[in-house]
Assembly symmetry: C2
Homo-oligomer: 215 residues x 2
Amino acid sequence: MNLKTSTEKVKAQSGRETGRQAQKSASTRKIIVEAALSCLIRYGYANTTTPVIAREAGVSRGAMMHHFSNRLTVIQAAIEYLHEKRLKAFRRAVANLPKDQPQLHDGLKAYWKHVTHPLYVAFHELTVAARTDRDLARILGPAQEAFYDEWYRMAGELFPDWQKDPASLELAMDLVNTTLEGMAIRRLSLPENPGAEARLFKYLEACLAALKPAD
Amino acid sequence: MNLKTSTEKVKAQSGRETGRQAQKSASTRKIIVEAALSCLIRYGYANTTTPVIAREAGVSRGAMMHHFSNRLTVIQAAIEYLHEKRLKAFRRAVANLPKDQPQLHDGLKAYWKHVTHPLYVAFHELTVAARTDRDLARILGPAQEAFYDEWYRMAGELFPDWQKDPASLELAMDLVNTTLEGMAIRRLSLPENPGAEARLFKYLEACLAALKPAD
DNA sequence: CGTAAAAAACAATCGTGACTGTTTTTTATC
DNA sequence: GATAAAAAACAGTCACGATTGTTTTTTACG
């Protein structure tokens, strides 16, 4: 705002989506939302309070309350942000798989990478908290289901010939789902055991190969 | 304990293990501890506060604080109680299995019953909370490891001929562990899907049968 | 009568939402 | 184009409720 530029006139054109304060507002909101996710990961849901988030974001609590009227609103924004980010990252990973002949190994690894990502911890915190928090559950539930739906859909696209045997495919999906998420959650509370993890991973891969109908 | 017996005097002798007050004290402590577990299950760890526990137990908070000097002490007692109860229940279940020829199916079912028990939810709440609570982790960690150690030990006893192939046994244990716990945790946050659960369960059973060395 | 259990009262801290004031940007008017 | 009005971003403070741990009082048993 201190530099005079000829492009200043442009702002009036589009209305209010490109203005300076709109930009700044969006930027601050993003900072706050990412701070909220950091807090979920580092301090857990119960300790992700408004003062803690504001401190983590480096803004005053007043500023934060200006953008989000109450605590749950911040959480809601964080959930939406998280949901999009998870979907985007997962789509990217799937897109990078060799399309012509997708390998089970790579797909499995992609999901493993997904559930071992810090953001999954944030999601897990939210999930556990939602069990005893109706308001949170109302917000989280749809995102959760949408993600699984999308995941199932992508898997179907990735292995078209597997869809001839939907029961087998669904079983495989459920197996991957529960096992990898179980491993990821176990990691959070027990000392790591890379050897056991690797063996389990390898075994799971063999199971899938056996389940999958021959090409 | 409502009948006056000549054994009343005994209490003074041994100190304080048999008197009426001691009995009542123990009774109250048990009520409080069980109330704490109920709260964990119904309200989650963060909402398991001292007023809530006391209300659930039907005692005044002052009475509760008389028995447990602070909140974490109540939680600690609940963890010990829970640990013993889990071990006892699991030992009982294992003892009821046909000793001569233990069936994989029954063992699997026993563990499944274990992880779908409400007390497992309490344990899960504690586990998640411990991730971001050092004090809680210090208390919970040992119990957690002890339980798994005991579980592995019992499985080894139950399938002695499997111990000839320890790698295979450990893999099977890890598989059961992560998958069933993953299923149980998934249950807490997603709408139930009995069909999928049953198929997964059955598949898991087949995997174990294949892993197990022939008798 | 003395002691332990139970209840109640207490002070201190923390999180929340609402409120007030300040600065900066946008909009409107001449 | 300059200036006034409006709106938004931001900061700080306040009161309320809840939780925690401590202390004091009452009750009941031995």
